[in-house]
């Protein structure tokens, strides 16, 4: 291809992860001259999706301890000791698409609004995340099979749940109503009193909730990965987000996942939109050096090309680390263990229809507590083959846990889950990949600006996509274009595309 040497740009975006790609989408109609590069030879950065072979290659690259360039380490693909009959069930490598970012997106999230108003949603396929489950071990009988309990995630679930007696239904609904109004005048006094209280004792003492209901609510809240007891201030807003998202896009579900590999799909579509708007894309090209000047930045790219730009934007790992402009983000070693596992069964009972005539869910959430270390929680996002991530007859589990023994706890949790399903024989793990991901301790919006060099916050590694990511995209977009807040991501149909047709899509 032509050399980039001596070219000049309005904006250079480094890295094609979700944060950078959303900025590319926002700038796609700005008339700015955008160069979007990635030092990887694939799209998606930390949010990429891989086929089986690609995943194995990626794991080899990230098998060592944390490098300067990556938040991933200790990656390893494990071949399990299974007989040939089981092994032969594994499909062709291309039949898989594993997501580094399988985060679920609540239907009220600003990301979905932005995809609709920027007219990119029609290129994406969203599927329902239907049910939340807790895997419960019998306290009295450690040999008993663990039980899988569906978490009531809304009024109709509470009504139907046969395990809750009338009083428990009432208490749970009273809490749910509090969740809906805790920041309103009538409840503010109570909220101030409850905010900093640990969840278990507050829900038990103030809301008379039985223990099982408390565990259920915690599964619903999916608090950030941490080994400390969450407070009401962490849990209540998350439960609210869940409840208020039910039914927004259809009956019976609160969250969605993008088909074909999680958030990678959104990043790809966003990049495509920027390319349609004239943005230039080059993969396999990183920045080796950046020097600020009066009018912008001079960049050295990997094979010795020099370019100039008014703005340089990227996540901290995509920007050169030396020099005066390094961001003040601290590496706060919030390391979490992750496992991607292909299961030999579709685990149909994780994806029941959640409403009459509603969509069949392709995603589910399972929360399991460790029997041996009770503080440790494992959050598992289960994707059915409908997600396009594995062949039919199988499903993919994305499990996450904290702490140094994270992988052991995950091991225990997945095995509990597989036994709790009640299938005979117990389903096998056909393939798995383990890795460690480090999160940055981010200040409220995590955005850092050093003259023309802007460091975007990384995507939160929690199980749920958080709105603050797009808020910082907006901030950067306003900085670069001077556009008004209301115009962010609001695009008219492109010339030549009939508006009605576009709407029908």
């Amino acid at each position: 291809m032509e050399t980039l040497d001596n070219t000049e740009w309005d904006v250079v975006i480094s890295g094609t992860g979700l944060p950078q790609s959303l900025l590319a989408l926002a700038l796609s109609r700005s008339g700015k001259k955008v160069l979007h590069i990635d030092h990887n030879d694939y799209y998606g950065g930390d949010e990429a999706a891989f086929s089986l072979t690609e995943a194995e290659g990626w794991a080899r690259k990230h098998s060592n301890s944390t490098s300067e360039q990556s938040v991933f380490s200790k990656a390893a693909v494990r071949t399990l000791e299974v007989n040939d009959a089981v092994k032969s069930k594994l499909g062709t490598p291309r039949a898989y698409s594993f997501a580094l970012a399988p985060q679920l997106i609540y239907t009220r999230s600003n990301l979905l609004q932005a995809l609709v108003s920027s007219r990119t949603h029609s290129q994406l396929d969203f599927q329902a995340v239907g049910s939340w489950f807790a895997v419960v071990n019998d306290q009295n009988d450690p040999d008993a099979a663990p039980r899988l309990i569906r978490v009531p995630s809304g009024r109709e679930d509470v009504f139907r749940d046969a395990t809750l007696d009338l009083r428990a239904k009432r208490s749970l609904m009273r809490f749910i109503r509090f969740v809906g109004s805790y920041d309103e005048d009538g409840e503010r006094e109570k909220w101030v009193q409850f905010r900093e209280q640990p969840v278990h004792s507050c829900l038990r003492d103030q809301f008379s909730l039985p223990d099982a209901a408390i565990e259920a609510l915690l599964a619903l809240a999916l608090p950030p990965y941490a080994n400390i007891e969450p407070t009401m201030a962490t849990v209540v807003p998350r439960v609210r987000q869940h409840l208020q998202s039910i039914g927004v896009f259809g009956a019976g579900f609160a969250a969605v996942l993008p088909k074909w590999g999680g958030l990678a799909e959104i990043a790809q579509v966003a990049c495509r939109a920027c390319a349609v708007g004239g943005g230039v894309y080059v993969l396999g090209k990183g920045i080796t050096n950046a020097t600020k000047s009066e009018v912008g930045v001079t960049l050295e790219l990997s094979p010795g090309e020099k370019i100039k730009t008014q703005w340089l934007v990227g996540c901290s790992k995509d920007l050169p680390t030396s020099g005066s402009y390094t961001s003040d983000l601290k590496d706060n070693s919030g390391a979490i263990a992750k496992r991607v596992a292909v299961i030999s069964s579709p685990l149909t009972s994780l994806f029941p229809p959640t409403s009459e005539g509603g969509p069949l869910p392709a995603g589910a959430v399972v929360v399991a507590k460790s029997a041996t270390s009770p503080r440790a929680t494992v959050q598992i996002l289960a994707h059915s083959s409908e997600s396009g991530e594995c062949p039919t007859g199988q499903c993919v589990l994305y499990a996450t846990s904290t702490g140094s023994d994270g992988l052991d706890v995950i091991d225990e949790a997945i095995s509990s889950l597989l036994r709790s399903i009640g299938e005979e024989p117990v389903p096998d793990i056909l393939w798995r990949m383990d890795y460690v991901q480090t999160s940055h301790d981010q200040s409220d919006n995590g955005l850092s600006v050093d003259g023309p060099i802007v460091t975007l916050p990384s995507l939160s590694i929690d199980a749920v996509y958080e709105d603050k990511l797009l808020n910082s995209t907006k901030e950067v977009w306003q900085m670069i274009t001077g556009g008004s807040e209301g115009a962010f991501m609001k695009f008219e149909p492109r010339e030549g595309i009939d508006e009605d047709e576009a709407d029908d899509g």
Binding site: F159, R160, K169, M173
Partner: protein, 374 residues
């Protein structure tokens, strides 16, 4: 605009750019031209296919224009009449059509009518999706199917109505509270029952259970359920004991729902319906119990008053509970003059709570006070 969470417009943005405004002006001009084309053609009694196509185009843009739907039906009637008059030896018979008709066991005219009806039903589907609360679209479907029933053998029209049941189920899954859908569903079920000669009350009852389990706040589903109960009991030829068991299980269901959410009015309506079936003076609600004795009435009233009193715990600010207590208590006093269960002190307390919780209905509460002689 949205009601009960279902958006009513297709999300067109209000602040339009100059370019968009210009486009809109152009659309308005085109619409006006189309409208006068249709009315001129109808005035000139031009019942051609071109006129028919023009109504399609106009109605797709504005399905609320009911006069045009009337024109459309007149055009269809004209075609049907011509088909029926032509007979089997008409001059312009397509051989493949004739073969298809014969295969389906239809006359050529019936075959053509069936095709036209099916085509028009298909034309309505995208419109119905976009305007699920437009009376004229539902009305036109209903007309098409009734007309088909007149002209086609039972087997064919029954198939059409079965398809309609599928459609209305789909529509109600998109908006479970669309009362057009529920009303239409009752009509469709009635037609299928008549054509097939068998009751669908049981399966429709099960359908209402599924619908309230998906969304408790569904006035239409609860209403439909109440309408189906007398039919189910008579279809089952239920004994007194079976009727009582049925009645109890409905109370169990609604009590569970009311404990879950006492603030939901639709649930109280259903509870009121169940209680009304005990009321001999209410000829709107057929009795569920048979025989419905005074002892039975008193027993149920006592039980429900007790149960609702218990519901107050943790929902002391819920006015529906006090309202139900007062209402059922006044009925209880009527049938059980002994008045053991409720005291005047309690009645006054409940009324006071209502005054506090719902001061805007002060007059109503005063009336009640006088009525109950408190």
């Amino acid at each position: 605009m949205a009601s009960h969470g279902i958006p009513r417009v297709s999300g067109a943005s209000l602040d339009k750019s100059e370019q968009a405004k210009q486009k809109e002006r152009k659309q308005i001009d085109q619409y006006k031209a189309l409208e006068s084309e249709v009315t001129d053609r109808i005035k000139a009694r031009d019942y051609s296919n071109a006129t028919f196509q023009a109504t399609s185009k106009l109605l797709s843009q504005n399905p609320e224009y009911y006069t045009i739907w009337n024109h459309r039906r007149r055009l269809l009637q004209d075609v049907f009449a011509r088909e029926l008059a032509t007979g089997p030896s008409g001059p312009l018979i397509d051989e493949t059509d004739a073969a298809a008709a014969q295969k389906a066991g239809l006359t050529l005219a019936q075959h053509e009518i069936a095709l036209l009806v099916k085509e028009d039903l298909l034309f309505l589907i995208p419109l119905l999706k976009q305007y699920p609360k437009c009376y004229w679209i539902w009305n036109h479907r209903s007309w098409l199917l009734s007309t088909a029933t007149q002209h086609l053998p039972v087997h064919n029209s029954s198939e059409l109505w079965q398809g309609e049941l599928g459609l209305v189920t789909k529509m109600l899954s998109l908006d479970s509270r669309n009362f057009h859908g529920w009303g239409y569903r009752r009509q469709v079920v009635k037609e299928i029952e008549q054509l097939n000669g068998s009751s669908m009350a049981e399966s429709e009852f099960t359908y209402t259970t599924k619908m309230v389990e998906t969304n408790l706040s569904n006035f239409s589903a609860w209403h439909n359920r109440s309408q189906l109960i007398p039919r189910i009991l008579s279809d089952r030829q239920a004994s007194s004991k079976q009727r009582q068991t049925f009645f109890d299980s409905e109370f169990e269901l609604i009590t569970r729902a009311l404990y879950t959410d006492p603030y939901d009015q639709s649930l109280w309506f259903y509870h009121q319906y169940l209680m009304a079936t005990l009321d001999a003076s209410n000829d709107q609600a057929l009795p569920i119990l048979d025989p419905c004795t005074n002892t039975g009435r008193v027993d149920y009233l006592e039980r429900e008053i007790d149960s609702i009193k218990e519901m107050l715990e943790g929902a002391e600010d819920c006015k529906y509970i006090y309202q139900a207590l007062l209402e059922y208590s006044s009925r209880y006093i009527e049938v059980e003059a002994g008045n053991k269960k409720v005291s005047t002190v309690e009645l006054r307390e409940w009324l006071d709570e209502l005054r506090k919780l719902d001061p805007l209905r002060a007059g109503r509460w005063r009336d009640w006070q006088e009525q109950l002689k408190l």
